[in-house]
Symmetry: C2
């Protein structure tokens, strides 16, 4: 099992503004030349929080976004208004472990999903696109408890106005 | 007048651990091949907060660290136990403006110096070396008030285990 985070943050470390908005991201332009498609093609499972799901669900063609992965949403809801997404609840780390040994798992967001996995040292790869924007307030990507965790910087690339940093455990 | 930030942070955005310690940085190794010397040679003034000064002052050969710049420390102290450093107080943005039009000013840290300059849109260049470390808690670099501020990503480089991101206004 390998656990990946792949996503955009601001230079001051936010996944979204304080209202969970992504205007800052859309205004940065699309990092079109990234390896996102290749990355996605290697994933078996996508996991996200309720807020992240809601952002996806409001997109026009939401159903087409994660067509080849098993998609799980951590939520207290019993069902979701979008085909292809399964609601789950409980301990994130246990759920991920239960997915079995051969899966590539993409943690799409948010921080409540990533934090418990970082705390148990279960994140194998962090691929972060940093947008050249400061928000000053918002939803931070990293909210795990205090502990020094070291990764290995594998590559650094520029895609348009995004700086992509790739880390492995 | 041009205002620069140049310094290291963790991947989760901290300048130092919660006790103002830099062990995480020293353990990352020195980004020796950086352009730090060239950067420094172009600076006329260095400005830092009290805590940053205290970290410098405890180094063995502290006096040799910033030999060619005018060095100012924002502190309530009337004098400093280190030659070559001048205590100042009051409004950071006003002080910086008062330095005159032709100066290159390096904001060494900490966040209480950088934040008011970001809030007044007075930071011309951010050069950030990101260490491949998560701390989970510490002294964040970016503490400016909420406001969307956009920079231009100029270059991205890898120096050993550091990712250097260069932004201009």
């Amino acid at each position: 099992m390998s656990v990946f985070f792949y996503g955009c943050i601001t230079l001051d470390g936010y996944l979204a503004d304080k209202n969970h908005g992504l205007n800052w991201l859309h205004e940065t332009g699309s990092p079109e030349e990234t390896d996102c498609d290749r990355f996605y093609s290697e994933m078996d499972v996508a996991i996200m929080g309720r807020r992240t799901f809601e952002e996806i669900a409001r997109l026009e063609n939401a159903a087409s976004y994660y067509p080849t992965t098993e998609n799980y949403v951590f939520t207290h809801a019993d069902s979701l208004p979008q085909r292809g997404f399964t609601p789950v609840r409980g301990d994130v780390a246990e759920f991920v472990t239960g997915l079995g040994p051969d899966k590539n798992i993409w943690i799409i967001g948010g921080n409540t999903i990533l934090a418990p996995l970082l705390e148990r040292d279960m994140v194998d790869c962090l691929i972060v696109q940093v947008a050249p924007v400061l928000l000053g307030e918002g939803i931070p990507l990293f909210t795990q408890k205090e502990a020094t965790r070291r990764f290995r910087l594998e590559t650094v690339r520029q895609y348009g106005q995004f700086a992509e940093l790739v880390y492995r455990k």
